[in-house]
């Protein structure tokens, strides 16, 4: 990155020239930035929150189920070794409300390590910031507000609130569901709310969880118990919008009682730890992933229902594909913001994302109701799927993120 001074009547403004500017220093944005900078590209990351704040327990209380393939990506980029705490998922048990029929996925059946890892988001953020700090071609601009995005032939210029300016050949929007980069690029998006909210909390329990993740389909929506380290589990309690305020606002003792009733007795005595969070659930897809000198990744491109725990994993697949396309282009001396280069990324990712969005949307609609014929059908479906080896193994591979044309990083290979 070269620093120049653009003469201005009032005061000098530093101008930073980079190859790629990433707006949004979240989990996916930082992963893309690390992958590109590690390959030698000059990368700027702009975020309005300070890194120190983003790693506090109060900033994000969620934990993420990182699929096996995503773990390989994080390992290959040198991020995983900085993750302080993670819990392997050895089994996934899916059950349907009060029915005793259930699907059971066991990592031992694939014989290739755990199905995934549970990581608290703050631990993942800390690991990303540590890795980012090791790479000298990665430049973090945070906390700072983005004032303007301006297009000129050959570059995109970002004007920041501190008076500095970043000129890049490519702008990556990793700025989440309400993406400003997407809006400003004129990319439309469509989607709908599920009329559901996810309430997230952490519990400490008496008995070990054995590395088993539970997903229960209750009529109001899925209820997930996900194993964390140290006799703790992360809960995702999905409730309908109209019940959300009441459930979220329950006094501590009653909230704990409601949780206890849904978890059951298999973990022994349980206690809620720390605060609760709530997130509205909805499906959202961008009509395109690219625009002139612009590419979208993660939730800026697609927000899926968290039912299958695939939101972050899809974002990391975007990251892996975009890193591979851009690094290959850069090695050939191509302009990273070139229309034909970006078209390769869009072609690769869009089909996969739309497919999974449809599958998770369908699963949620199927399971979030208590109508008898649907209930019987899905019980039968579950029983059938559970008994047929190939179908079950396919679903398991999807949970591990190893279906489809895999970017090299998801195979654990460097780009």
């Amino acid at each position: 990155m070269t620093e120049e001074t653009v003469p201005r009547p009032d005061r000098p403004t530093p101008l930073h020239r980079v190859d790629v500017a990433v707006v949004g220093g979240g989990l996916v944005g930082l992963t893309v930035a690390i992958g590109l900078a590690e390959a030698g590209l000059e990368v700027a990351v702009i975020d309005r929150a300070a890194p120190a704040d983003q790693t506090l327990p109060a900033f994000d209380g969620r934990a993420s189920a990182i699929a096996h393939a995503s773990v390989r990506l994080l390992e290959t980029l040198g991020i995983w070794r900085h993750v302080a705490d993670h819990q392997p998922i050895e089994q996934i048990r899916v059950s349907d409300g009060n029915s005793r029929l259930h699907l059971h996925f066991d990592a031992a059946e694939l014989g290739d390590g755990p199905l995934g890892e549970m990581v608290e988001n703050r631990h993942l953020r800390l690991a990303l910031f540590r890795r980012a700090a090791e790479i000298k071609t990665l430049h973090l601009f945070a906390p700072v507000d983005l004032c303007a995005i301006e297009h000129a032939p050959g570059r995109v210029t970002l004007r920041l609130a501190d008076g500095s300016t970043i000129a890049a050949a490519l702008l990556i929007g990793a700025d989440g569901r309400a993406s400003r980069v997407r809006r400003q690029a004129g990319i439309r998006h469509f989607g709908w709310s599920y009329g559901q909210q996810g309430i997230v909390a952490t519990i400490r329990h008496e008995l070990p969880h054995g590395g088993i993740a539970h997903e229960r389909f209750l009529p109001s929506g899925p209820f997930a118990i996900l194993p964390l380290t140290d006799h703790r589990s992360s809960l995702v309690w999905t409730v309908r919008d109209r019940e959300a305020d009441a459930a979220f606002g329950l006094p501590a003792a009653l909230f704990e009682e409601a949780i206890r009733r849904r978890v059951g007795g298999f973990l022994g005595r349980i206690a809620v730890e720390g605060r609760r969070w709530r997130y509205p659930l909805g499906l959202q897809l961008a009509e395109r992933y690219v625009a002139p000198r612009t590419a979208l990744v993660g939730d800026a491109a697609h927000g899926v229902h968290p039912i299958a725990g695939q939101g972050l994993n899809l974002g990391l697949r975007d990251a892996a594909a975009l890193i591979e396309v851009l690094v290959e282009a850069a090695r050939l001396g191509e302009d990273p913001g070139d229309e034909l280069v970006l078209a390769r990324y869009q072609q690769w990712r869009r089909f996969d994302n739309v497919l999974l969005a449809c599958v998770t949307d369908g699963l949620n609609r199927l399971f979030s109701n208590d109508i008898t014929p649907i209930r019987i059908a899905r019980d039968l479906g579950m029983e059938v799927t559970g008994r047929i080896g190939p179908a079950r193994r396919f679903l398991m591979r999807h949970a591990r993120g190893t279906v489809g044309r895999l970017p090299r990083l998801l195979q654990g290979l460097p780009v």
């Binding site: 032939p153 050959g154 570059r155 850069a330 050939l332 001396g333 191509e334 302009d335 229309e339 034909l340």
Partner: protein, 258 residues
């Protein structure tokens, strides 16, 4: 505009190795060199495969790091018939001090403006010149490229002799062109010009296309050896060109001065 520019003397002297009709036709389209949907579309499509070939050969010849973003650092490169700079810019980004030359006045103006916009003017310069002009000046380069040009000049052997004189003894010469085969007639003339309308009809003269065996003979006569060639094949499903063993339509190659 399915060629990499033109090689003609600025004053258009009759002795120059250029075709005035061709030059006029290409200069008229110059403003659209960088439009991937315009008449230069086949060149935009060919570019990743051509650049991959150049990169791989250069990395093994000069023993550079295969993961490097600047494998041509400290090398000089010449792009003969550079057109709008579709190959010159990537050579400069790969680290080479690059000179692009073209006989077309408009092409050079477009190339210069584009390099400035891309912030590449430091390592990249353009001149309206003919390869013979540089030979007369005694210029030498580590890497000389002459892509999609040979089939557009009246005297290919003279062009290759210039290329030989301009390539350093330990340097590499890269060329790519169209084979004169039934396949190339179908693909480049009927397909690209008339059916797909990628390029304006009349862009190519099939009789000027060069068969790989003729190419090899001309290169040897010009003083090159260690000649390697690879096909550039269009994959319609992926909509990309790939390096292949099929030299029947487009092909690329490299050679070393003997």
């Amino acid at each position: 505009m399915a060629r990499e520019g033109s090689n003609a003397r600025a004053d258009g002297a009759s002795a120059a190795n250029l075709d005035a009709d061709e030059l006029a036709r290409f200069d008229a389209l110059a403003s659209r060199w960088w439009d991937p949907h315009g008449p230069a579309r086949p060149l935009h499509k060919l570019n990743p495969a051509r650049l991959a070939f150049i990169r791989e050969r250069a990395i093994s010849h000069w023993r550079r790091d295969p993961r490097s973003l600047r494998p041509l650092a400290d090398l000089s490169a010449l792009d003969i018939g550079c057109g709008g700079g579709l190959v010159s810019e990537p050579l400069a980004r790969m680290g080479a001090r690059t000179l692009g030359i073209d006989a077309g006045k408009e092409a050079i103006a477009v190339a210069r403006a584009h390099a400035r916009e891309a912030g590449l003017d430091e390592h990249l310069s353009y001149r309206r010149a003919l390869s013979a002009d540089l030979v007369a000046e005694g210029a030498h380069f580590d890497l000389v490229c002459c892509l999609e040009l040979i089939e557009h000049v009246p005297e290919p052997t003279a062009l290759l002799a210039d290329a030989r004189a301009l390539t350093r003894p330990d340097g590499l010469f890269f060329f790519s062109t169209l084979n004169r085969s039934a396949c190339s007639y179908a693909a480049a003339i009927v397909g690209a010009e008339y059916l797909l309308r990628w390029v304006p009809p009349g862009t190519h003269d099939w009789n000027r296309f060069v068969r790989p065996d003729e190419m090899r003979e001309m290169l040897e006569a010009a003083g090159f050896s260690a000649i390697e060639m690879s096909g550039l094949s269009y994959d319609p499903l992926a909509d990309r060109f790939r390096l292949s063993g099929d030299l029947s339509v487009n092909y690329i190659g490299c050679a070393s001065p003997r």
